[in-house]
């Protein structure tokens, strides 16, 4: 048995702690979306309003990973699925929903720029921006941006974006968003 690995997983477990009702790392296909989606529904039954928001945000961000993550997994049915992380943490007043995945460094500038635009807009401007983006033909990459706009609208909080280079070609892109209870 590899003791090093065992103590790593214990560290991870402790780091996540009691206020992380959900954490997942792996490929995100339709089954995972369904399972986690259902789980969120049950988990947040006591706060239905926040629960619905967490669910909506989960669908948009998890779908972005599934489509656009630079890290891919081949499933047994030969489907090529994006891999990434999904985390929910709970505080007294709010939930934080987080995702993280690898992105090609070439694509990262666009994502950061879009996120900054989103964070600079008030609610009315954000709605207008969404309407403008929605009218554009649904190119694959464009789809991710309207998802991010929707996440900002649903949470009513800014997107907390971080990018850390991991090698010459890839960066780890993480996004955290607060959902008030």
């Amino acid at each position: 048995m590899d003791n090093q690995l065992n103590s790593n997983i214990l560290d991870l477990y402790r780091t996540l702690g009691n206020n992380t009702p959900l954490s997942y790392k792996g490929p995100i296909d339709d089954h995972i979306l369904q399972v986690i989606g259902t789980y969120i529904g049950g988990l947040l039954k006591h706060s239905p309003k926040a629960g619905k928001k967490v669910f909506k945000i989960f669908i948009e961000l998890a779908q972005n990973i599934s489509y656009y993550s630079a890290e891919r997994s081949k499933l047994s049915n030969n489907k090529d699925i994006g891999t990434g992380m999904v985390l929910i943490s709970e505080q007294a007043e709010y939930y934080t929903f987080m995702t993280g995945n690898l992105v090609k460094t070439d694509d990262i500038i666009t994502i950061i720029e879009k996120s900054e635009v989103i964070n600079s807009l008030d609610r009315e401007e954000l709605r207008q921006y969404k309407r403008e983006q929605r009218k554009l033909p649904p190119g694959k990459k464009g789809g991710a941006h309207i998802g991010l706009i929707q996440v900002a609208l649903t949470s009513s909080n800014p997107l907390d974006i971080e990018v850390n280079p991991v090698d010459d070609e890839h960066s780890f892109f993480s996004i955290a968003v607060k959902i008030d209870k």
Partner: protein, 127 residues
Amino acid sequence: MENLEIEGSHKNFFIPTVSFNAKTGICEISGESFLEDTVEFYKQIVEWLERYIDEVKGPIAFIVKLSYFNTSTSRSLLDILNLLKDYEDEGGEVVVNWHFDENDVDMEEDIDDYIIDTGLDINKIPY
């Protein structure tokens, strides 16, 4: 012309229930919409409406009772509403009734955005 009937499900994705009646023109979509291939799913709905407008030329009452839809669905809904607006502009009789949970502020905003986007009179019906 045949009716369009699709039974909704919650299995892997959320497939909405679709019931479009070619005799009465009452076209209802309900449930939740989050699909593997949104464009493909809504294509059959748009094509049905185009045929109805072309052949039957009757009134259309579009009834929306969706409690949840994702952003790619929201694009397809816009396509449907634009089609209905064009039909109305050409003299077709169109009514859109959108039912929503009165506590769901986001959904009400979505409906308002569709009204702005399409210029259609959408009746907002809280429940």
